[in-house]
Every structure is written in structure tokens, then in C-alpha cells.
């Protein structure tokens, strides 16, 4: 966000959370029966649906890679998803960029070597948005890919971290991101490899604090990781 002319005093979180608390998370797997894999991921008022199709035949042919299958992501905010302001339907520069970084965040865990010349399509739709959409999209997509039965080393956990006036915080809300002007640091973390597959920074943060932020992010990621794992398993618990 652009720097604010007047700095807002922000000593307590507007939704009553503690600085390190994530918003309530709800995750579901298998929400689109016709898709090969699907999941929904809701964090606070941000909701992402992800559907995976494939591996399947890839056209146009020039996109085919004879060495491996490719991953193609599509990120889309629905027109009515925001705060009153209608989102113009279709791709935009922003959604194209986010689509690309989503596939880059997910690729390190995926192994598509068994499927040369093919494609795995991931469609992420956001019916309700309140900051952290790319992160919710990545978390949902990782679950949907696992549900599709693809070879994966791990799931990917993603949420945003924040920094404002020397205060570190987790999982920004729309108010904090847009109105307060908290530095937004979206991260995607792969627990088993102990690596980040996405790290962006929108705002300013001192170097020492960034390291602290990432350490805290690793800790909080494990909470979210458990929710993802549980929801994937829950699909097979029904009827037992």
C-alpha cells in the first residue's frame, strides 16, 4: 500500500485478535465432485475455492514440455467479492501475476515427471475477499492438488505476515492491509523442507525484524498445516 499521509495509531487489532493470532480457519476437501481434486479454504472473511483438473492433454502444443508435465494456475477474484467496489471480470495484470507466483509457490513440492507433455490445471476462485487472497489461494490449491492424488513432497502453507510501527503481526485483515497501511509480507512455507516458496514484501521492514517475522511465520505455519492435513483426511472418514 502507498504510504499514508497521516499515520494511524494502531495499538490493538481491530478485530480483537492478539498480534500473533491467525483468523479462524475452515478447510474442506472434495467440494467439486466433477473435478479431479478440489478444496475450499476460508480464513476470516477470505474464501478461496480451488479445483484441479488433470494431468490432461495440453494444447496448444507448443506449450508441451517433453520432459515433464506443467502446472497452470488461474487466480480469479469474483466481481462481487470485494468491499463494494466491483472487480472487473476476467484477467488483469494483477491476477496474471498472482497466477504465476501461485504456480511458482506450488511447483517445488510437485513432481510431474511421470506426465510428460501434459498439464495440471489449477483454478482458484475467490467469492469473498478480505486480504490475503493469494495466500488462501495457495493453501487451497495445495490441498486440491493433494486431493487429486498427484505426487507431492509436502503441502504448502501460506498466509501473510505484517509489520507496523515496530510491531510484528500475523495474517492481516483487509482493514489492516488497506486502511492502516501495515507492511504486507505474504509467505508460503513448505514444512518438511523448511523452505519458503513465496516471499513478497509490500511496505517497509528492517532487516532484523524481517528475520524475526519469518521465524514466527514458520511457527504459525504449523498450526495451519494441521488444519489442512485434518481436512484432507476428513474426506475419507465419512461412512466409517
Amino acid at each position: 500500500m502507498a504510504a499514508k499521509a497521516v499515520k494511524i495509531e494502531y495499538k490493538k487489532r481491530s478485530d480483537g485478535r492478539s498480534w500473533e493470532e491467525l483468523r479462524p480457519i475452515e478447510a474442506k476437501t472434495g467440494i467439486v465432485p466433477r473435478a479431479d481434486g478440489s478444496a475450499s479454504f476460508k480464513i476470516g472473511h477470505t474464501l478461496a475455492y480451488a479445483a484441479v483438473y488433470g494431468p490432461r492433454d495440453l494444447h496448444p502444443k507448443f506449450m508441451q514440455n517433453p520432459e515433464t508435465g506443467i502446472l497452470r494456475c488461474r487466480y480469479n477474484m469474483m466481481p462481487f467479492s470485494g468491499h463494494g467496489e466491483r472487480v472487473r471480470p476476467g484477467t488483469s495484470r494483477r491476477s496474471q501475476e498472482i497466477s504465476m507466483l501461485m504456480s511458482k509457490a506450488l511447483l517445488p513440492v510437485l513432481d510431474l515427471k511421470d506426465y510428460p507433455n501434459s498439464v495440471v490445471d489449477v483454478f482458484v476462485e475467490l467469492p469473498e475477499t478480505d486480504a490475503g487472497t493469494r495466500c488462501a489461494g495457495i493453501s487451497a490449491a495445495a490441498m486440491a492438488l493433494a486431493d487429486a492424488g498427484l505426487a507431492m513432497k509436502d503441502l504448502v502453507v501460506s498466509f501473510s505476515m505484517g509489520y507496523y510501527d515496530g510491531q510484528i503481526m500475523c495474517d492481516l485483515s483487509g482493514y489492516e492491509d488497506c486502511d492502516v497501511g501495515v507492511s504486507d509480507i505474504p509467505v508460503a512455507y513448505i514444512p518438511s523442507m523448511d523452505k519458503f516458496s513465496l516471499l513478497q514484501l509490500d511496505g517497509e521492514v528492517p532487516k532484523e525484524d524481517l528475520i524475526k517475522i519469518l521465524q514466527l511465520a514458520k511457527k504459525k505455519a504449523l498450526d495451519m498445516y494441521k488444519v489442512q492435513q485434518e481436512s484432507l483426511k476428513a474426506k475419507y472418514r465419512q461412512g466409517e
Binding site: Y115, P116, N117, A146, A151, I190
Partner: protein
């Protein structure tokens, strides 16, 4: 370092989950070792056999495998064969040589043998690294599928639908009176005496697919089939007698003649007239 197993038999695991620790365990396909830890490399169910930890996949696309019997759909006619859909990311080619033992003239209309949209039961005879697939129709039971309906199931549930030594599919066949042909790619052909019987078989297949990961499935299916058909059902014991599969039959061809009838004489068998290059001609 003591070897510890973190997941029990029949546990569902997700990618990245630690299944076992210690060098005493061996990971099989779908699992990977990272230092001392064995982690799941995809979603699936755990099966432990002594030191070997196995992962049974629950979902995912069908990957064509050599010698698999699959049900395919003819999607295109090529110069010397047919292209068929295998229900995997890749299509397969049925060459003329592998399709029929008959002599096929050069200009023959290949749709006389297999027309677009027809389903066939075939066997995979070659899969390359780039997933180019060759199939054949030569083998016991391989045939064109007619008069019946197609059921789509998850290809990873096929072993459960077949059951141990084919017991599950045999039980469903006996209970419903239908012929059930199961392709490894998750396409199943059901052919019965009446549409009602076919629908019963379809319902039973769908039930097995749904409950494939649950224990005691055979008993459950027995009850389900009894309720469905209203007749007592027996669980096939031991090795069932080898199913007599219909021998490879020559498909009767639909005669498709160009207007005027009389057939196409340009490509009759053999050349007429005196043979060329007869020795001692000069």
C-alpha cells in the same frame, strides 16, 4: 536409533506426513526417504508388510501400464489404425496389425472395423517414456463392446471392484445376472439381460467405489446386493472357476459399398494377368 512407525495399517496419510522413522523401514512407491524419516509422497492409505511400508493411492489419474486390459473409446481413424482414448492424459494407437487377422485392402474404410465412438476392450502392448501407447485386440476376451452401458469409476478403486481372485465382481455378476467387464483404467462395461439388472449392477459398482477404503467390504456388499435384488447372495469362496471368456471373435463387418453396389474391385485379392519377372523369361 529405534525404528518407529507413526502411521498404523489402513491409516490415511497426506503428502509430507511422516509415516515411519528409522533405517529399518523401506519405503515403496509413493513414499520417500529423507534422512531417517519416511514421508508420504502423495495421498493414500498405508499398508505395512514386515519392513516394507506401502502406500495405496486413493485418487489420481490412470497411468497406462504394460499388459493392462483397458476399455478404450475410438476417437479418430488414422492412415493405418485407430486412435483411442484411454482415460489417461495420453491417447493410444491401435495399429491394423494388432486389430485384426483379416487381410485389409489398402483403401479399405477402417470405420467398418471400428467406428468412431465405439468402445473396445483391449490390451496395452507398449508404453514409451514419452507415453506413446500401443494397444492390441489380439488376446482372449478382447473385443468390441456392444449392447451395454459404461460405468466410470476411480481407477485406483479397480482392485477393490475386482476383489480377491475376482470374488467381488463375481458376486455382483451372480447377483445381478449381468456381464461386468472391468478395465484397469476405471471404465467398466455392464451388459445385462434387462436395463433394470444393469442399473442394479451399476449401483453395486458405485457402492464398492464409495466404500473401497473401508474394511469388511465383502460382507457389506453381500447385504447391499441382497437388499437390492431381494434374493440371497453367496460370497464366492476360494478360487472361483476360471471365467470362460468369449473367444476372440471376428467382427462381422458392416458392408459399406460405394453407390452402384458390386463392391470395390480395384483392390481385389492379388494381381491378375501373367506374373512379372518370371525366371527364364529372357
Amino acid at each position: 536409533m529405534t525404528d518407529t512407525l507413526h502411521a498404523k495399517e489402513r491409516d490415511i496419510v497426506v503428502p509430507g506426513e511422516i509415516v515411519a522413522e528409522g533405517l529399518g523401514f523401506l519405503p515403496s512407491k509413493g513414499l520417500y526417504r529423507e534422512g531417517e524419516k519416511i514421508r508420504a509422497g502423495r495421498m493414500g492409505m498405508i499398508a505395512v508388510e514386515g519392513k516394507v511400508v506401502k502406500l495405496i493411492p486413493l485418487s489420481g489419474a490412470y497411468l497406462p501400464k504394460l499388459n493392462d486390459k483397458v476399455i478404450c473409446k475410438v476417437i479418430d481413424v488414422l492412415m493405418t489404425g485407430w486412435r483411442v482414448e484411454t482415460r489417461s492424459p495420453y491417447s493410444a494407437v491401435l495399429g491394423l496389425k494388432d486389430a485384426t487377422t483379416e487381410f485389409v485392402p489398402r483403401s479399405a474404410d477402417l470405420t467398418q472395423y471400428y467406428a468412431l465412438g465405439e468402445y473396445i476392450l483391449c490390451k496395452i502392448i507398449q508404453v514409451t517414456s514419452q507415453k506413446l501407447i500401443d494397444i492390441t485386440m489380439k488376446g482372449p476376451g478382447l473385443r468390441k463392446l456392444k449392447n451395454g452401458r459404461l460405468v466410470e469409476v476411480n481407477p485406483h478403486k479397480v482392485p477393490r471392484i475386482i476383489g480377491k481372485d475376482g470374488s467381488m465382481v463375481l458376486m455382483m455378476k451372480n447377483a445381478t445376472g449381468c456381464t461386468i467387464t472391468v478395465g484397469q483404467n476405471g471404465w467398466i462395461w455392464v451388459e445385462g439381460p434387462a436395463p433394470e439388472a444393469e442399473m442394479q449392477a451399476v449401483a453395486a459398482i458405485k457402492k464398492v467405489e464409495e466404500d473401497a477404503h473401508l474394511p469388511g467390504l465383502t460382507e457389506k456388499m453381500k447385504e447391499f446386493l441382497e437388499k437390492l435384488t431381494g434374493k440371497p447372495v453367496e460370497i464366492p469362496q476360494g478360487l472361483p472357476p476360471m471365467q470362460e471368456e468369449p473367444a476372440y471373435e471376428r467382427e462381422e463387418r458392416r458392408e459399406r459399398r460405394p453407390y452402384g453396389g458390386g463392391g470395390d474391385t480395384r483392390h481385389g485379392p492379388g494381381r491378375r494377368g501373367p506374373p512379372r519377372n518370371t525366371p527364364g523369361d529372357n
